[in-house]
Structures are given as structure tokens and as C-alpha cells.
Amino acid sequence: MNYNKIYSKWFWVPAFAIFFILFLLPSILGVFFSFTNWNSMSESLKWVGLENYKKIFESGSSIRPFANTIFFAVMTSVLKGGFGLLLALALNRRVYGRNALRTLFFLPMVLSNVIVGLVFQQIYHPTTGVLNQFLNLLGMGSLAHGWIIEPGLVMWSCVAVEVWKASGFNMVIFLAGLQSVPTDLYEACDMDGGSAWQKFIKVTLPFIMPSVVINMLLNVISGLKVFDVIYTLTNGGPGKMSEVVEIVILNEFAIGNYGYGTAYSTLMFVVLIIISVSVIKRYAAIGGDSV
């Protein structure tokens, strides 16, 4: 049989065309436009070489959004992974109401980031917010803070919201990974008098390593792309203390600095490709299925 005729390319061309023109092509074009002075003021497009990138790296103001984005990506990855793993280990046991608990812990994942951001803005409110009122109630009023108005705290508060929202997602992936651990290995470990910790390190962890890798990869990717949670929670404030790269891009877009904004996008494009390719390569080398 003629495979190329039966499985005609016209089956994949429509999907590829839409995906390419509206997703990949803009990223590729962006690389070229990031070397121009493209903006809303001047009519003519001029090649400016590395000017936009120089501006990004030389101006002191762009360090913060990059630092914030990396901080957010790293902290949320670790915390979501940690809480997700603990929840999965707990919910893999015979606790009462297991399915209800799983459903509830995952639930925030399906809410819109806009709603989550707006509600937490209220929860964090310095005087009327539920968080500070709760602390006062417990007699720990000294711990009450202006969670999203104190410059030193604001990024932590953003991280906390993301951890609240997406730990359940990590949990679900870990739960799937835990099903691959053969129970007789635990029994063997019991026979040999292994402690719970030894069981975890020697039996559980090696089997769920693929879940760890995939969770971390997905967490880092989504962390670096973070936008709407922070945009609706703090809008980058106070001042620019919680600005992340995607917020800078929107702001540059709004004031018409298209070429400059696109340079930021292109940087993110390159960084994300490098991270993913290296993780996937290493992951494939450990023995996971390569994509």
C-alpha cells in the first residue's frame, strides 16, 4: 500500500498551517524585528542592530523584571513540586474522603487567573484582608504585613498565590507516577527493616523520577511565562517591584515600543528553548521516552 497516499499530507497541513502562521512564524519574525527600531511613532523601519538588546542589558531598570521572573520560576517550581509531592504521598494512602480531597486540591487549577488574582488582592489587603485578620485573631498581629505593598514581600506573595493554585497539578502528576511503584518492593523493604525514609529514597523516588523531571520542566516553563496572576494581583507594583518580563512586554507594547518589546520576547524564546532542549535531552538519556 502507498502510505503517502493513504496518510495524505493534507491531513496535517491545515493544523500545521494555523499553528505555524499564528504561533511559530511570529516568534521567528520577532527575531528580525527585534533588530529594528519598529515603533508606533516613526513610519519607516530602520535596522538598528543590537541596539534594543544593549538597551535591555545596560539599563538598570530591566534587571528587576528578569530577576523577578527567575525568582518566581525557581521558587514556584520548588514549592509546587514539594507540596505536590507531599500531597500525592498522603493521598496515595487510604485516607478518608480521598477522592473528594484530590478533587478539592486540584480545583484551583481550573479557575481563571484573573479571579484568583483579584480575590487574593483582597485576602492580602493590609487592614481589611482575611489573612491579616486571621493573624490578629490568633494573637500573632505582629506577623501581619502589607503583603503586596511591601517591596520586600510582594514577590513572595505572588509565589504563594501560584503555589496555592498549582500545587494540585503537581500532585496529580506525582499520583500517576506513584502508581508505577511496585508494592512488593515496599514489602521487601519492610522485611529488611527499612525505615519510612529509606523506603522513600530507595524505592519511591527512583520510580517517580520521570514525574519529578516533567513537573519541574512544566513548572519552570510556566513560571518563566508568568503573566496574568501577577498582572491582576499587583499589576507589577508597588512601583515596579513585582514586574515580570511578560508585564514589561505588555507595557512596551502599550506605549508603542514594538521592536524593544519584541527583543524581550525573543530573549524569552531563546531561554525557554535552551532549558527545554537540555532537560529533554538529559531526560531521554536517563531512559525516559524521548519525544
Binding site: 511559530l24 511570529p26 494512602r93 485516607v95 474522603g97 479571579i115 483579584l118 480575590v119 503573566f227 496574568d228
Partner: protein, 274 residues
């Protein structure tokens, strides 16, 4: 030993149910405040309402803009989820069945879409060039473009596990390849199709960025964007904002509860397959 284990499990259960309060309380706040009076909801607290104001909901739904945006959301979500599902299933099918070198490269290019960020500024320019900016069609195609990579990915893995002899049998019986796909293969892909639909419906329903960059006219906004706008307008009327949020959240919670199996299995299938 067994007794000890039971006590440990009991304590763990207790701890988990206390922890789950952290998840539930913020959501309960929305519900509580959606039925309060303006004054009571001025500070969004956890206090119980003194009287139930269901008229908040009628007031929100009577707002023509909110009402319209609700149907915009339904239209955009259903159209883009369906389109991306159909196109991705077809694409994954040929790519998984006929794994030539070229087809593998195409598949890997699709997977790139799982990783790279969207260049929004440039996409605006491309949509302007195509004269699709600020149109429903443009928004639907954009969502579709963004959903295709993951959808192709989950279909691909599933199709690899369906026997190829089915195709051959259908072809020998005289089916063309299009009919073979829709009559024989597509029905078998139902679990993935459900996953793709649930996931993409949710993602589209919750999206905030496409209207922000690509839809200038509020006429075409989905509900999330309209709510954000509503929030800046009625910033002190938290009862109305919360009622609007509930109206927005209700459909997705229903989809989530009904389609939980597919949602979770789809997400983990992707993760386990790597």
C-alpha cells in the same frame, strides 16, 4: 502495628481536611460575598451575610455587557476547542501512522509549541497583515494555534497504541482514507477527544491575554476580560464582582466535575509519556 497504622491514617486524614480549608476558604469568600449587600461586602470578609441578596445575580445578568460576554466566551471556547480538536486529531493520525523522516520533523516542530512563549507583539502584526485583528475569526484561529501543540501531542501518543490493522481492514473494505478515519479511527479516540475538549474549553474560557492584545472592542470580549473591566468599574461593589465571578466559575466547575476523569488522565498521560 495495624492499630498504629490506623491511627496514623486517621491523623493524616484530619491534617489533610484542615489543609484543604486553605483551598476552600478563598473560594468560599466569593460565594459568601456574592449574596451580601454592598455595605457588607465592602471589605471582602468571611463573615456570614445577615441577609441573602440574590438580586446581585439578576443585576449582573441584566447587565447587557456581561450577558453578551458570557455568550462570547461560550462561542469562542466551543469554536476553538472543536476546531483544534478536529485538526489535531487528523494531523496526529497521519503523523503517527506514516512515520517518515519528514513527518517526524513536523511532529517535533508541533512539540516546539509546548515550550516556546507566544510573541504577542509580533502576532498582533501578523493578524493585522491578515486583516484578522479584532475579529472573532482571528481570536478563534489564535486559540486554535495555541491549543494545537498539546492536542496533537496527546492524540499522537494514543494513536500509536491503536492497531494499524484496523486501517488496513477498513481500506480493504473499500473506505477512502477520510472515511476510514472518521468511521473507524475517530470513534476509538473518544477518551483523548474528551480530554482535548475539556482542557481546551477550560483554557479558552479562562483566557485573559487574547482579548488584552487582540480584541480592542469590548463587544467581542469573553467573560474573564469583561469581569476584569467590571472590577475596575465597580471596585467597591464586591458583591457584584463576586456574583459575576460565580457566574463565570459555575460552568467550568461543572465541566471540571463532569469531565474530571478526562482532564486528569489527559494531563498525566502527557506527563507519563514524556
Amino acid at each position: 502495628m495495624i492499630r498504629q497504622k490506623r491511627i496514623a491514617n486517621l491523623l493524616l486524614t484530619l491534617l489533610l481536611w484542615i489543609l484543604v480549608l486553605l483551598i476552600v476558604v478563598p473560594m468560599a469568600m466569593i460565594v459568601l460575598n456574592s449574596v451580601k449587600s454592598v455595605n457588607e461586602s465592602a471589605v471582602m470578609s468571611l463573615e456570614l451575610p445577615t441577609s441573602i441578596h440574590t438580586e446581585n445575580f439578576t443585576q449582573v445578568l441584566a447587565d447587557k455587557k456581561i450577558f453578551r460576554s458570557f455568550f462570547n466566551s461560550i462561542f469562542l471556547s466551543v469554536a476553538s476547542a472543536t476546531l483544534s480538536m478536529l485538526l489535531s486529531a487528523l494531523a496526529a493520525f497521519t503523523l503517527a501512522r506514516n512515520r517518515t523522516k519528514g513527518n517526524r520533523i513536523i511532529y517535533i516542530v508541533f512539540l516546539l509549541g509546548l515550550v516556546v512563549p507566544v510573541n504577542y507583539i509580533m502576532t498582533v502584526r501578523v493578524l493585522q497583515t491578515l486583516q484578522l485583528i479584532n475579529t472573532y475569526l482571528g481570536a478563534i484561529l489564535l486559540y486554535t494555534a495555541q491549543f494545537i501543540p498539546f492536542t496533537v501531542f496527546i492524540y499522537y501518543g494514543f494513536i500509536l497504541d491503536t492497531p494499524k490493522t484496523l486501517d488496513e481492514a477498513a481500506l480493504i473494505d473499500g473506505c477512502g482514507s477520510v472515511r476510514m478515519f472518521f468511521k473507524v479511527i475517530f470513534p476509538l479516540l473518544k477518551p483523548v477527544t474528551s480530554t482535548a475538549m475539556v482542557l481546551n474549553l477550560l483554557n479558552c474560557w479562562n483566557d485573559f491575554i487574547v482579548p488584552l492584545y487582540f480584541l480592542n472592542s469590548s463587544q467581542k470580549w469573553g467573560m474573564v476580560m469583561m469581569m476584569y473591566n467590571y472590577f475596575s468599574k465597580y471596585v467597591s461593589s464586591w458583591n457584584l464582582v463576586c456574583a459575576a465571578m460565580l457566574v463565570n466559575v459555575l460552568p467550568i466547575v461543572i465541566i471540571y466535575i463532569a469531565g474530571q476523569k478526562y482532564l486528569v488522565s489527559g494531563m498525566t498521560a502527557g506527563a507519563v509519556k514524556g
